[in-house]
Structure formats: structure tokens, C-alpha cells
């Protein structure tokens, strides 16, 4: 869709311009193939783990494992149904960033790691500083100010307001 009609686009074949051969042989829908494969893998694991650790019982008296087992099987079937049409169909290119997701997830993990060891305030600073890596406009000074004001706000809201029993600082070790 982007910039359709610009001179450059005329030399880049769009999806409609492809011959059936191209569509069938060169460009399967990798998005759905990967998605379907992951769904199948998860379904197999889920069904296997259910029948391995839980009793299936009978339809009359279903065991704890019966429903999860069935869900696992359904997932495998759906995964196959996702993959089959994807093999012969062109799809969007797999387009993903690595840096931003890693930084944001690392910021959450930093919080989870810091809270039990150092308390909430250090965890807030860690989260803000790690997440600031995702945008160059967030300078160290600015991040410091954001983290400091968040610490005060959260102390007011959660500790003073809601009496949450979480230590703001925990240097007990």
C-alpha cells in the first residue's frame, strides 16, 4: 500500500503482478508457516504433557487430563489448517525488530529482578533506565527525573494510599 504509484514501485512487482508460478514456488507465506508450526509444537507438547501427568478418565467420568488433551489435539489440527494454505500463497514478509522488544522486555525483567533484592525504588530506576535505551531522545538526566517523580508518585499512591506491603527500599541483605 505504501507509496503505490511512485515510479520505483512500477519496477517492483506487487502481489497482483506475480504469476501463479512465482506465488506457488518462490514465496510461501512464511508468517503463517512459522505461526502454524509453533501452534502445532505447542499443541503436541500440551497434549503429551496432559496424558503423561494427568489421568484422562472416560467420557462418563472425565479425568483432569481429558480436556487439556483435547485442547492440545485441536491446536495441532488448527496448526495444520494454518500451514496448508500458507504453503501455496504469497504472504507479507516477516518483519520484526529485535532491539526495541528486547529492551522493553529487559526493562520488565529488570523490575522483577530488582524488587525482591533492592526494593521498589531501585526497581523503578532500573526499569526507566533500561527502557530509555529504546528512544535516543530520553537522556540520562531526563530518565533520572522521570524515575524520581514516578517513585514519589508510586509511594504516594500505593504505599500511602493503598497500604501496599512492599518495601520501597530493601537493603536487608
Amino acid at each position: 500500500m505504501s507509496g503505490a504509484g511512485t515510479p520505483v514501485d512500477r519496477f517492483v512487482p506487487d502481489r497482483r503482478g506475480e504469476t501463479f508460478w512465482d506465488a506457488a514456488m518462490n514465496k510461501p507465506n512464511w508468517q503463517d508457516i512459522w505461526g502454524g508450526a509453533l501452534v502445532i509444537a505447542f499443541g503436541i507438547f500440551f497434549a503429551w504433557y496432559a496424558q503423561d501427568t494427568l489421568s484422562l478418565g472416560s467420557l462418563r467420568r472425565m479425568g483432569a487430563g481429558a480436556f487439556p488433551f483435547a485442547v492440545g489435539i485441536v491446536l495441532v489440527i488448527l496448526g495444520v489448517l494454518i500451514i496448508i494454505p500458507a504453503l501455496r500463497r504469497p504472504g507479507p514478509k516477516l518483519d520484526f525488530a529485535i532491539r526495541t522488544p528486547l529492551i522493553i522486555l529487559a526493562a520488565v525483567c529488570a523490575f522483577a529482578l530488582c524488587v525482591p533484592r533492592f526494593g521498589v525504588v531501585p526497581a523503578i530506576f532500573a526499569t526507566v533506565f533500561v527502557s530509555s535505551l529504546a528512544d535516543p531522545r530520553l537522556t540520562a538526566l531526563f530518565s533520572f527525573l522521570v524515575a524520581a517523580s514516578l517513585s514519589v508518585g508510586i509511594w504516594l499512591l500505593f504505599v500511602q494510599g493503598l497500604n501496599l506491603p512492599i518495601p520501597m527500599f530493601d537493603w536487608s541483605w
Binding site: 497482483r16 506465488a23 508468517q31 503463517d32 505461526g35 502454524g36 509453533l38 501452534v39 505447542f42 499443541g43 500440551f46 496432559a50 501427568t53 494427568l54 489421568s55 467420557l59 462418563r60 467420568r61 472425565m62 479425568g63 483432569a64 487430563g65 480436556f67 487439556p68 485442547v71 491446536l75 488448527l78 496448526g79 494454518i82 494454505p85 501455496r88 500463497r89 504472504g91 507479507p92 518483519d95 526495541t100 529492551i103 522493553i104 522486555l105 520488565v108 525483567c109 523490575f111 522483577a112 521498589v120 526499569t127 526507566v128 527502557s131 530509555s132 529504546a134 528512544d135 531522545r137 530518565s143 522521570v146 524515575a147 514516578l150 508510586i154 493503598l162 501496599l164 506491603p165 512492599i166
Partner: protein
């Protein structure tokens, strides 16, 4: 009159100072969340649930619902001024709202969408007031077979009606049901998929799952992006808001039709406000004598969808409150809140908790009036919110997500859950799966299993039960038809591609 007594009781509850206060907080927060693109209603509601643990259930639901319909009011602001919808249900509003802003008519558009939202919302509430009790009455003699069939229909509809290949939507729902299996089995007490950790014996935490899936995934895809440019900043003034005679004449019919579509699609599982607004827009364009004006700033093109999405917001509460079966991810969260507060949802809710039900319904009226007041004189303020750059917001949102999740049970494990589902949510986005049905499956899955196992106990393992009971049989056939339709769509899409590839 029974309904009058209920309305009186509801008004009395909704007008209590605490409830009134939380209604205001909810709609104000909703407007802010709706205005700012990159923070959706689902993530916002999930993030604020921990704060509502300390409230009584009525106040909690009043506030969270306020966020839900408040976002729909606010969502149109970003659509009109930035051409970036603040919420998905306001996406259609950008088609004609943004051209209006480019023509210097942003204030008129903002004023008229607020009016359309109010009108649509009001009609939706009226529909809810009359139909919810009827449906609940009817549902009183539903057994496990009916409930299982209805929930199955809800899940299949929610996943196969969304865009993209139906198999992908169904897979996401099944994934949600699978995650819902984790925890202690209610019948046998067996530990399922807990991997010998105490943290999982109560199952995955609904709030952590929702925050990770929607909040974190949203931040990932919005952080570091360029800020969109705003048009019509200068024209957002009270004085410029007065619509012309022509605007008013063109508006009332689309508003009424939009509210009709909205009320209808709101009650159905899987459709909701976004689809309602699309259908309403398409219908207006079709019945218009001047369809060429659409997309170039036609006032009908903003009135119909804004009326439709607000009506749908209200009527989507009908199946959730009257049957205990949510039709969308947001409603699944609302149902989760009820359960967290120890209230069993279902058709008897209205009898058992009349203050909660009628108080909530009447709070919708109050909330809609508050939103009208908030949105018309203060629209300049909200528009200025759009100028707050996202890079200032996202670290704060992230911290709030972490601390909110931690506060649920003071358990760091839930923060790890958020990180896990954040990763899953991003992966699903990359692979083109929509995440909302997962939440629906997660909430409905355990209920479905319970009803299914109860039904099997009653029928001694005979599947025929689902087809012997008339209501269940009808619902099951509808589910079958939906699946057939999904298959037909897949095949037809392939035929079309072949035809276009060959030609």
C-alpha cells in the same frame, strides 16, 4: 412498574458520592487513554484493575466500564486531528474526520462526534435496560449443555469473524483455553501444568496475562516511533464548534441508523464496536445520494460510526451481565473482575445483585453525560494531550505496569508472567495473529470445561445431550454454520488469488 423501581434503585446506587466519583475518574481516564494513540482500552483496563481491588465491586465495575466507553469518545479525537485512530473502533472516523480537520472544520467534527457518541450511547443503554432482564429471565432454565454450546459459539464467532484466516483466530482462542487449563483442577484437585511451582496452583493471573499481551506488546510497537503531525490545532476552539444547518440536517438519520447497527453488533459475540462502526460507515456510503463525498469530509461519515461504536460499547454488556458469557476480550476482563470480587456471573446476577446491575446501568447514563461535558468544552485540552510525545509516556507506563502487577498479590512471579506474555504478544503480532481472542479463551475455557464435564456427568458420556435440548441444538448448528462459513471464506480467498494470479 418493575423497571421503574429498578431504575430508581440504580440511580440511587449510581449517585452515591463514591460511585459518582469513580464514574468520573473512569470516564476521564478513558478519554485520556482514548485520545492517546498507543495506549488501548484493553491495556488501560488491565493496568487499572489492581487499583480497583480496594473498592467495592460496584464502584470497581463503574470505573472500569467508564474507561471502556470513555475511550470510544476520546478515540475519535486522535482520528480527526492526527489521522491515527486512538482506538480501533475509531479507525473509520478518520476517513472523513481527518479531511474535515484539513478543511479547518476540526472543531465541528469534534463537537459532532461527541454528540453522535452521546446519542448512540443513550440508545445502547435503553436497549440494554429493556433486553438484558428479558434475556436473563429466559436463560434461567439453561443447563450445562446450553452454557457449553453458547460459550463454544461465542469463542468460534469471536475468532472466525475477526480479519485474517479463520484458522489463525481459532488457534489463538484454543491457545487461550490451553493457558486457562493451568492450575488446580476443580473436580479432582490434580495439579495441571504447574511444573511443581506453587506460583501456578491458582492458575495464571488474568491481569498479568492481559497486561503482558496488550500493554507490553503495545509499548514495543509504539516506542521509538516518529510522532505524527497534527492538523487543525488552531481551529479547535469552542466558537468554531457550531455545526451548520446543513451539517445538522445530514446528521440525524446516520446517527439513528448507526445506533441501530451498533446495538445489534454489540450484543453478538466477536463483533463489537469496531465491526459495528465499519458496517455503519459502509451502509451510509451505500444509501447516500452523494457517495462521492465520503472520504472527503462528509459529516455522515463520522456520525454513523461514532454513534455505532458507542451503542455497541453499551450493548456488549448484555451477554456479559445477563448470561455471564463475554463476547469480547474487554468484556472477558470485566467478567474476570466480577469473579475476583467473588460475584458469580450468570442470569441470576440481576436478582442477586440488583444494586450492582442497575447501579452500573444507571452509571452509564451519568458517565455519558459527564463525557459530553468533558468532551465539548474541554476538547482543546484533550487535543493538547496529543502533543505529549510518546517517549515521555512509555517509561512511565512501563513502571506502572510492573508496579500494578506486583500489587496484585505482592508476588514477583506475576511480573515474570507479564514479561512472558509480552514476548508472546509481540511474537503473535509479528506472525499476524490477533491477540484479543486469547483473553476470551482464557476466561471462557475453564467455564466451558466445567459445563462440559457437568454435562457429561448428566448424560453419562453421551454427546447427544448437546443436540437433544432444543436451545443447545440451535446454538450448536449456528456454530457449525459459522465454521462452514469460515471454511468457505478460506477456499474462496484461495480461488480469488488463483484467478487474479492467472489473469
Amino acid at each position: 412498574m418493575d423497571i421503574l423501581a429498578n431504575v430508581g434503585l440504580g440511580l440511587q446506587t449510581a449517585l452515591e458520592p463514591t460511585n459518582l466519583f469513580y464514574c468520573f475518574v473512569g470516564v476521564a481516564l478513558g478519554t485520556i487513554v482514548g485520545v492517546i494513540p498507543g495506549v488501548g482500552p484493553l491495556a488501560a483496563i488491565a493496568m487499572l484493575i489492581p487499583l480497583t481491588f480496594y473498592l467495592d465491586p460496584t464502584a470497581a465495575l463503574i470505573m472500569l466500564s467508564g474507561i471502556w466507553y470513555g475511550t470510544t469518545y476520546g478515540g475519535s479525537t486522535a482520528s480527526i486531528l492526527l489521522n491515527v485512530p486512538g482506538t480501533t473502533s475509531a479507525a473509520v472516523t478518520a476517513l472523513d474526520g481527518y479531511p474535515m480537520a484539513q478543511q479547518g472544520r476540526a472543531s465541528v467534527a469534534l463537537f459532532m462526534t461527541a454528540v453522535a457518541s452521546f446519542a448512540g450511547g443513550s440508545i445502547g443503554i435503553l436497549v440494554m435496560m429493556f433486553f438484558a432482564p428479558l434475556i436473563a429471565q429466559y436463560a434461567l432454565n439453561f443447563g450445562p449443555a446450553e452454557y457449553f454450546s453458547l460459550m463454544l459459539l461465542g469463542l468460534v464467532a469471536a475468532s472466525s469473524l475477526s480479519d485474517g484466516p479463520p484458522a489463525k483466530g481459532l488457534a489463538v482462542v484454543a491457545l487461550g483455553v490451553a493457558f486457562g487449563c493451568i492450575g488446580t483442577d476443580i473436580y479432582s484437585g490434580a495439579e495441571r501444568f504447574t511444573f511443581d511451582t506453587l506460583n501456578l496452583t491458582d492458575g495464571l493471573n488474568l491481569i498479568a496475562l492481559a497486561i503482558g499481551l496488550f500493554g507490553i506488546a503495545e509499548i514495543i510497537s509504539s516506542a521509538g516511533r516518529k510522532e505524527p503531525t497534527m492538523v487543525g490545532k488552531e481551529s479547535v476552539r469552542m466558537r468554531a464548534m457550531i455545526p451548520t444547518q446543513d451539517d445538522r440536517r445530514r446528521s440525524w438519520a446516520p446517527v439513528l441508523r448507526g445506533a441501530g447497527f451498533g446495538s445489534f453488533f454489540g450484543t453478538l459475540p466477536g463483533t463489537g464496536p469496531s465491526i459495528a462502526s465499519f458496517v455503519a460507515y459502509a451502509f451510509e456510503k451505500r444509501v447516500s445520494k452523494t457517495p462521492e463525498r465520503f472520504g472527503k469530509g462528509a459529516i455522515e461519515g463520522i456520525m454513523a460510526p461514532e454513534s455505532a461504536n458507542n451503542a455497541a460499547d453499551q450493548t456488549s454488556f448484555i451477554p456479559t451481565l445477563a448470561l455471564g458469557i463475554p463476547g469480547s476480550a474487554t468484556m472477558a476482563l470485566m467478567l474476570g473482575v466480577l469473579i475476583i470480587h467473588g460475584i458469580q456471573p450468570g442470569p441470576t446476577l440481576m436478582d442477586r445483585e440488583p444494586e450492582l446491575f442497575w447501579g452500573l446501568v444507571m452509571s452509564f447514563w451519568i458517565g455519558n453525560v459527564l463525557l459530553l461535558i468533558l468532551n465539548i468544552p474541554l476538547v482543546g485540552l484533550w487535543a493538547r494531550l496529543l502533543l505529549v510525545p510518546y517517549y515521555i509516556l512509555y517509561p512511565a507506563v512501563l513502571v506502572f505496569i510492573c508496579i500494578g502487577t506486583l500489587s496484585v498479590q505482592q508476588n514477583v512471579f506475576h511480573v515474570w508472567t507479564v514479561a512472558f506474555f509480552g514476548l508472546l504478544g509481540y511474537l503473535m503480532r509479528v506472525l499476524g495473529f490477533s491477540a484479543a481472542p486469547l483473553l476470551l479463551g482464557f476466561v471462557l475455557g475453564p467455564m466451558m470445561e466445567e459445563h462440559f464435564r457437568r454435562a457429561m456427568l448428566i448424560s453419562a458420556g453421551d454427546f447427544g445431550l448437546f443436540f437433544d435440548r432444543p436451545i443447545s441444538a440451535v446454538v450448536m448448528s449456528l456454530t457449525g454454520l459459522l465454521l462452514l462459513h469460515a471454511m468457505y471464506r478460506t477456499v474462496r480467498a484461495r480461488m480469488k488469488r488463483k484467478a487474479s494470479a492467472a489473469g
